[in-house]
């Protein structure tokens, strides 16, 4: 039974999560995949809508969805319902005092607000560490994928796809997955202020948050 939200914030319970998973798919394995797919889609929704913390917003959306199901709300179109909640979360975030503050900062400072001057060296340092953590074939793939500019880049990617026996789309997807892992790794590394923060590529949704 889920803990009802009174004054306190509602927390996702095991039973509420199970109910949500069961609605996604009766098969437990496929339900877990569907959950990850829905979470990714919601994360992208917040990302492309410009939210500052897409992962956090997606988790909040899924929590609310689980809560509504646990409370017995009749939901015909689960993903459509989730998107409706996501829009509400987005709106709430946009209206929050912090968002107002950020918006004001953006208006005053433009699209490139000053940040700590050493961000760029830190980024490169983290990127090096994260690249080193990749399996050699993934590292070689991503570095070759990003070589060159314009026409040469297109030609190089076509040659790379041919060498690996992949279609252009399959190569792009593979590179994208590696890049997404790198992005998460670099973000976690850059967020860790300590110099001994070791880049890690292990995916953990909990680690992706701010």
């Amino acid at each position: 039974m889920a803990t009802r939200a009174h004054a306190a914030r509602w927390e996702l319970t095991a039973s509420a999560l199970e109910r949500l998973l069961a609605r996604l798919d009766p098969d437990a394995g496929r339900a877990a995949e569907a959950y990850e797919a829905l979470r990714l889609a919601l994360t992208r929704f917040f990302d492309w809508r410009g939210a500052a913390f897409p992962d956090e917003c997606a988790d909040e959306t899924l929590n609310r969805l689980a809560r509504r199901l646990d409370e017995g709300t009749d939901v015909a179109d689960l993903r459509g319902f989730a998107l409706g909640i996501a829009r509400l979360v987005l709106l709430e975030r946009a209206r929050s005092p912090q968002a107002r503050h950020d918006e004001l900062d953006e208006q005053l400072l433009g699209a490139a607000p000053p940040v700590v001057p050493d961000q760029s060296p830190r980024l490169h340092e983290c990127l090096d560490g994260c690249l080193a953590s990749l399996p050699p074939e993934s590292r070689a793939l991503i570095l070759e994928y990003y070589q060159d500019h314009r026409r040469q880049k297109i030609d190089r990617r076509a040659a790379l796809a041919g060498r690996l026996g992949l279609s252009a789309n399959a190569l792009r997807s593979r590179a994208q997955r590696v890049r997404d892992r790198l992005e998460g790794c670099v973000r976690r590394c850059a967020a860790g202020r300590d110099a001994d923060t070791k880049p890690t590529l292990a995916h953990s949704s909990a680690d992706d948050g701010p």
Binding site: A37, L38, L40, A41, L42, R44, F45, D47, W48, G50, A51, A52, P54, R79, G80, A82, L83, A86, E106, Q107, L108, G110, A111, A112, P113, P114, V115, P117, D118, Q119, S120, L123, H124, L127, D128, L131, I142, L143, E144, Y145, Y146, Q147, D148, H149, R150, K153, N169, R172, S173, A175, Q176, R179, D180, L182, E183, V186, R187
Partner: protein
């Protein structure tokens, strides 16, 4: 790209140019179909690559700067893509290929433009208050000798005069400005003289100028004197050779702690 998604529609969505009803419809589709999420992510990747490769139209570039880069997550993504491209370029085996015809043409054009500026400039640029600019950094790679018929680069300048390239920058309104033209760097390192257009206040004596990358990292900071009244300039900032690489920058001029001008600067690598 999935067959039932139009790249133009996706780009419009990512650039905030899609009407709300169409955007909502697209979101309904991709939340219901994981394959579409991946397809849109592909298109986003291509969009960022086009931005970094300077292949966007002026309109899309302005939208990218105004809308896409308004998100801190997107700024990180672009910074990472740029860093990754730099790292990839650094690890790429050096091909011993001859420069293309267009590369030579661009180099010759850059040399001619640089020479013209050195001859035609009306007077010395305002001196920077914070001290002399350091000597130009050595070229990271040996420069190829020009082919027959192409003028040699400017001969070594006397110690008091270094090769420089002047770039006039018009102030932009915050986040809503059209894309500025890209300035191609010459093959040889040169000082960059950024002529910041505007009208200084009577009380302005100096300007604090910052050159920032799009991700906000400050790559150069200096204090420069106010330009002469009636010149149409706030100030001219001399950026030592080798400080700025091909990239997109935001230049901010402030006086007394208040921003007086914001400029967009795009530098392009010399064509090889």
């Amino acid at each position: 790209m999935a067959p039932d998604i139009a790249p133009a529609e996706v780009r419009a969505y990512l650039l905030g140019a899609l009407d709300e009803a169409s955007a909502a419809a697209l979101e309904s589709r991709y939340v219901a179909d994981p394959a579409l999420v991946e397809a849109i992510r592909d298109e986003e990747d291509a969009l960022v690559a086009d931005y970094l490769d300077d292949r966007l139209t002026a309109v899309d570039r302005a939208r990218f700067n105004r809308h896409y880069l308004a998100s801190p997550v997107h700024r990180e993504r672009v910074a990472l893509a740029r860093a990754l491209a730099e790292r990839a370029a650094a690890t790429a085996p050096r091909a011993a290929t001859a420069p293309s015809f267009y590369g030579w043409l661009a180099m010759a054009a850059a040399v001619v433009l640089m020479s013209l500026w050195l001859v035609a400039r009306p007077g010395p640029a305002p001196r920077e208050v914070h001290g002399p600019t350091p000597a130009p950094a050595p070229s990271p790679s040996p420069s190829p000798s020009p082919p027959p018929g192409v003028p040699s680069p400017e001969p070594a300048a006397p110690s008091s005069m270094r090769a420089a390239m002047a770039i006039a920058l018009s102030a932009v309104s915050v986040r809503g400005a059209p894309a500025s033209p890209a300035h191609e760097l010459p093959a040889e390192p040169v000082d960059l003289l950024l002529r910041l257009e505007g009208t200084p206040d009577l009380a302005d004596r100096v300007f604090d100028v910052e050159v920032q990358r799009v991700d906000g990292a400050v790559v150069w900071r200096g204090r420069v004197r106010t330009a002469s009244r009636g010149s149409g300039l706030l100030a001219t900032a001399a950026i030592p050779a080798g400080t700025l690489s091909p990239d997109d920058y935001v230049v901010v001029a402030a006086a007394g702690g208040a921003e007086r001008g914001r400029y967009s600067l795009r530098l392009r690598a010399p064509r090889r």
